[in-house]
Amino acid sequence: MRQSVDTASLKPLTVPMPTTEKPRGLLPRGARRMAMLCQAPSVILLLLWMIVPLVMTVWFSLLHYNLMDEGRQFIGVMNYVYLFTDPSLTDALLNTLVLVVGVLLASVVLGTLIALLMNQPMHGRPVVRLLVIAPFFVMPTVSALIWKNMLMNPVSGLFAWVAHLFGFPGFDWFANAPLLSVGIIVAWQWVPFAALILLTALQSMDREQLEAAALDGARPLVLFRRIIAPHLARPVTVVILIETMFLLSVFAEILVTTGGGPGDDTTNLPYLIYKTALLDYDIGGASAGGLLAVVLANLVSIFLVRTVAKSLDR
């Protein structure tokens, strides 16, 4: 059904020639209709994409609906009662929070440091830049498996080999610090993103102002606090908001490394919902969890949309 809408937009749309002088700020009727027709397919598709699944999620969350017995029965808010009294949810929320905040901290701190470094004169800077940014383009399943198997493996991994060189035993990352291990892998993908954005912001800074301040004898730390940090405030906000969106839904990295374990130690909200839906076939319960995820993400998105809206007003 969705497919039928978009083909219409591909047909050539003809604009009637404006016959009269058009008044300022107002489009002639024909052009206005054309503008609406141009936007309609995208708007309608996105509207469906947003509303249909959401309404279904809300409805399913009020049902006892398990794919194993196929019976559906209205049970009111019982799925929510069940969800909020489930100790797994507390764990999942906590893990989600730790993962998001931890990776954000790493991204902002390391990202700023790397961006400042990349902004310095050096030989072969374009190559260094590529090296730093490259991890962002590695698909999550690949980065997770390379880290887990080849670097963090307690027996034959490279980290273990380095530890042995210094006379330490190999550290079993995923057994002793599972959430930290997942966090490191995720951070490795997102620090480059922060660095790239902050570097772009740094490069748009007023060079003369910086040089004048440096000539006046301002020490680097003062320079950073007084001039650079205020300039980075907005890009850092943007990094935090965008990364939060993605970090709230970290999934593949957990699936291929720990499968949410040991126990629930690395189960975050998306993974909990995935387990409920596709491993336990509990559609009602997973929908209730899904709705919780939507609400959480929307709280974040309100701030992001506001920040971005400001940039539209320039």
Partner: protein, 277 residues
């Protein structure tokens, strides 16, 4: 050489050193993977790990011979390419109208589109999965193309809009007076003017589709699985065959990394919805 310029050269040398160390450390897992891909399984697990060795294509041959590798590549290309084509086709007229015939509602619509991007995939996993099951779209390329088109449509519209907005209105209006219709205006006037921006939009969209792992893992199996889902199967004991894992991963990552690194400048404005330029 004066003292000041000597000092500057020294400074540059120090930063070069630190910069390269940081860069090599960040990229190390990728470089290590690339190196391991050219080893034999025995060499791959050897200690101390060899930096210099006789490179072999054995692991690539194994991957190609023992898995349906080319099928997954084809799926990735078809899904990412199809979704990108479709979303650009949808977004072009939309972004054009928003940039050149804005109405009082345009800003609101743009912000709303951005907010649909905030919908966490996992929040709608259940209904999408069931819809797909009932419509027989599970494990089909068509279904994946549909999902990725909708998933990235807001980003594509936003990027195109931000590039179109920088084009002077006079040019398009001149085209209008010459009697060009909407399609001609977009194809003959706008696209040549904004070609680099449109190219960046397409490339970024390819990267996002290529690397997407949530929907691909949950909605595909053997038939329509792209590379992200295929590599996920290495999480089983398969992952212990490092050379094979590396070879498969390198093949999966290399093409899109080239694309991604080529477009990194526009990536920033694209991924931040124009908030950072």
């Amino acid at each position: 050489m004066s003292k000041a310029s000597q000092q500057r050269a020294m400074r540059k040398l120090v930063f070069t050193l630190i910069g390269w160390v940081v860069g090599l450390l960040m990229a190390f897992p990728i470089l290590w993977m690339a190196l391991t891909a050219f080893k034999t399984e025995r060499q791959a697990v050897e200690t101390p790990p060899a930096l210099f060795f006789h490179p072999t294509l054995e692991s690539f041959a194994t991957v190609l011979a023992t898995t349906n590798y080319l099928r997954f590549v084809f799926n990735s290309v078809a899904i990412a390419g199809g979704a990108t084509l479709l979303s650009v086709a949808l977004a072009l007229p939309c972004a054009y109208a928003m940039a050149f015939h804005p109405s009082p509602r345009t800003k609101g619509i743009l912000m709303w589109m951005l907010s649909t991007k905030m919908m966490p995939a996992v929040g709608v996993l259940v209904p999408i999965y069931l819809l797909f099951r009932n419509l027989h779209l599970l494990d089909t390329r068509t279904g994946m193309i549909g999902i990725y088109t909708l998933m990235n449509l807001p980003i594509v519209i936003w990027m195109l809009y931000s590039f179109f907005r920088d084009v002077p209105h006079d040019i398009v209006e001149a085209g209008l007076l010459d009697g060009a219709n909407t399609r001609q205006q977009i194809l003959r006037l706008l696209l040549p003017l904004t070609a680099p921006g449109v190219a960046a939009t397409i490339l970024l969209n390819l990267v996002l589709c290529w690397n997407e792992a949530f929907w691909s893992i949950n909605l595909t199996a053997t038939n329509a699985a792209p590379l992200t889902a295929f590599i996920a199967t290495f999480s089983s004991p398969e992952g212990l065959f490092w050379a094979k894992l590396s070879a498969a991963s390198l093949l999966a990552v290399a093409p899109i990394m080239v694309v991604g690194l080529a477009t990194q400048r526009h990536l920033v404005s694209g991924l931040t919805f124009g908030a950072v330029k």
